[in-house]
């Protein structure tokens, strides 16, 4: 028998980077399926585009940096970035949106900072912010959910719309988005509530239109619930800690509850905020990125709460309808500071005498 001396930590969780990334991607599957059900095959086409671009960009930069390509590529972190970015992009956005976004996320936000583990910002969200401020029209043109459209698009039509910006019959995205059932618009629930409130309508009037369900936006509520399900699986699998999602949800919920008490006619309420836009995806999949998030438990609570609060402030008072990406990127910048002030005391050091 051979006894080997290994350095601490002796207890190993046997989680490789690859395994963690694959688990997170697997947890995304319910959300992706629900999103595909409501918004069409465009979701999957964007996913494929993002995966291919991210892999090529990662391989290219690794080659330029003189690193071995396969070990880094196969850890799956680039693929996870691609998945998160593709989910956030409107399903029928032109192909170059996804290609630019995935390339920027991998080549610039991740690899130029030194690759996995060194990136200051969450690559998917930084790329999303780049796309949103560069191409505001394309990035806010979400398709109406399939149940509300007069004519549904086939897979081939959606493919044609993504690559040539119109179907074989010459229907462009704008024309198709205009052809929805009376009273509904192609705007996302967050967007239409915001527009209605700015026009002087109350939230109840805004939400009595087509496109709103029992909890929040039609379709969107189930997409968010599906991501919540995936997130709970991640908690169960111990891939993420509870601190960030709980702090995120509690802070967003509390802020919107206070807002609802103060101004009920211009404030859609807690449930709407939690089940709209990228709230659940952000809480469980994006804010919990182990590289760019805070690393201490207290820090995670502060980080998650700050993101939730920022999301609420930007949604309610800012110029953009949704804010998860902005909030995450802003708080990424604060992480070194948070980590500095929340270092746990190690045994034998730093006690107050």
């Amino acid at each position: 028998m051979k006894l080997t001396m290994a350095s601490s930590p002796h207890n190993h969780s046997h989680k490789s980077v690859n395994k963690i990334m694959m688990t997170v991607m697997a947890a995304c599957i319910p959300g992706i399926l629900v999103q595909t059900y409501y918004f069409g095959f465009g979701v999957l086409i964007q996913l494929a585009l993002a995966l291919i671009t991210a892999s090529l960009a990662e391989a290219l930069v690794l080659k330029l940096r003189g690193r071995a390509i396969w070990p880094s590529l196969s850890d799956g972190s680039a693929w996870l970035t691609a998945v998160l970015l593709a989910i956030s992009i409107p399903p029928l956005a032109p192909w170059w949106i996804t290609v630019i976004g995935a390339f920027f996320a991998i080549a610039i936000v991740k690899q130029l900072y030194g690759g996995l583990g060194f990136n200051l910002f969450n690559p998917a969200m930084a790329a999303y912010v780049l796309l949103l401020i560069s191409f505001p029209v394309q990035m806010t043109s979400w398709s109406p959910i399939q149940a509300l459209t007069l004519e549904s698009l086939s897979f081939v039509d959606q493919l044609a719309m993504i690559f040539t910006e119109s179907t074989s019959q010459g229907v462009t995205l704008d024309v198709w988005r205009a052809g929805v059932i009376d009273g509904a618009t192609g705007a996302t629930p967050l967007d239409s509530v915001k527009t209605a409130v700015s026009q002087g309508l109350t939230v109840n009037e805004a939400m009595s239109k087509q496109g709103f369900g029992a909890l929040a936006g039609l379709g969107w509520q189930y997409v968010n619930l599906a991501f919540l399900l995936g997130g709970l699986y991640l908690l169960k699998a111990k891939v993420i800690n509870w601190h960030i999602p709980v702090a995120f949800i509690a802070s967003l919920g509390l802020a919107s509850a206070i807002g609802y008490i103060i101004a009920p006619e211009s404030e859609p309420g807690t449930l709407f905020h939690l089940l709209s836009g990228g709230a659940m995806l952000g809480a469980f999949f994006i804010a919990t990125d182990p590289v760019s998030a805070s690393t201490t438990n207290l820090g995670r609570l502060i980080y998650g709460a700050a993101i939730g609060f920022t999301v609420y402030v930007i949604r309610q008072f800012g110029g953009y309808p949704d804010a998860v990406a902005f909030a995450v990127v802003i708080m990424n910048m604060a992480v070194p500071l948070i980590d500095h002030y929340t270092q746990p005391r190690t045994y034998g050091h730093g006690a107050k005498s």
């Binding site: 610039i108 780049l130 401020i133 560069s134 191409f135 505001p136 029209v137 394309q138």
Partner: protein, 232 residues
């Protein structure tokens, strides 16, 4: 002569105000959205730098050390006012599009930096040359960054050149390629930060390659050099 040459190298490359000293970043990042704006501000800064360096150098022996900074700022502000009035008179469109960044030349650290570090210690002629070279280095970086951002952002070069050079210059506008959608980030401030980062990285790569090329010859020189010092 060799001093003039070394000042030329310092200003345009080795000690470039924008790429190495990283001074004057505020106007550098804010106005380089097009080549025209970049050139306009670059030339304005160059003229102020030459004028202020000359004046500071002329009065250097009469200015008490304790109040030199306020004096320098007054001199710079005077030149900026002159440039501002000139631009208001002759290039009004550019004057409007540069806006607050013309008066802000006063606070450009590259200018007061040269007044303090060079002009207050050297003769007027050398100071003028130093101001010219530093201004040239700054203007060149502005020009390159402006060209990058304009090309990526809207696919053109020299858009609106008539604002700077008069009506004949509208023929200078080159449309390299046309987009249906502008790549807005290149024109917005984040694009300036990214662009400047890439320029600095490119400069460092070139420097590293030059160094790698020069390294073997330095070793060859090493042998005889020992004997030279012995002779001394």
């Amino acid at each position: 002569m060799s001093q003039l040459k070394s000042l030329f190298q310092e200003g345009t490359w080795q000690n470039n105000p924008a790429l190495v000293q990283l001074l004057g970043l505020c106007p550098l990042l804010a106005v380089t959205s097009t080549v025209t704006n970049a050139l306009g501000l670059g030339i304005a800064t160059l003229l102020v730098l030459v004028g202020s360096n000359f004046t500071v150098s002329v009065v250097r022996n009469w200015v008490p050390k304790d109040i030199r900074i306020p004096v320098f700022v007054m001199i710079i502000a005077a030149f900026v006012t002159v440039i501002q009035l000139l631009m208001n008179a002759y290039t009004f469109g550019l004057y409007q599009s540069l806006g607050i960044f013309i008066p802000l030349i006063v606070t450009n650290c590259a200018i007061i930096g040269r007044a303090e570090a060079f002009a207050s210690k050297n003769s007027p002629l050398l100071s003028v040359w130093d101001g010219l070279m530093m201004g040239l280095g700054f203007a060149l970086v502005l020009f390159v960054l402006g060209a990058m951002r304009e090309l990526i952002g809207q696919g053109t070069l020299f858009d609106g050149a008539e604002l700077l050079l008069g009506n004949w210059a509208s023929v200078l506008r080159i449309e390299i390629f046309s987009f249906d959608h502008q790549f807005l980030v290149a024109i917005l401030p984040p694009g300036a930060f990214l662009g400047l980062g890439f320029l600095i990285a490119a400069k460092n790569i070139i420097d590293a390659q030059l160094k790698a090329k020069a390294a073997p010859t330095a070793e060859e020189v090493k042998g005889p050099r020992a004997r030279v010092t012995n002779l001394n």
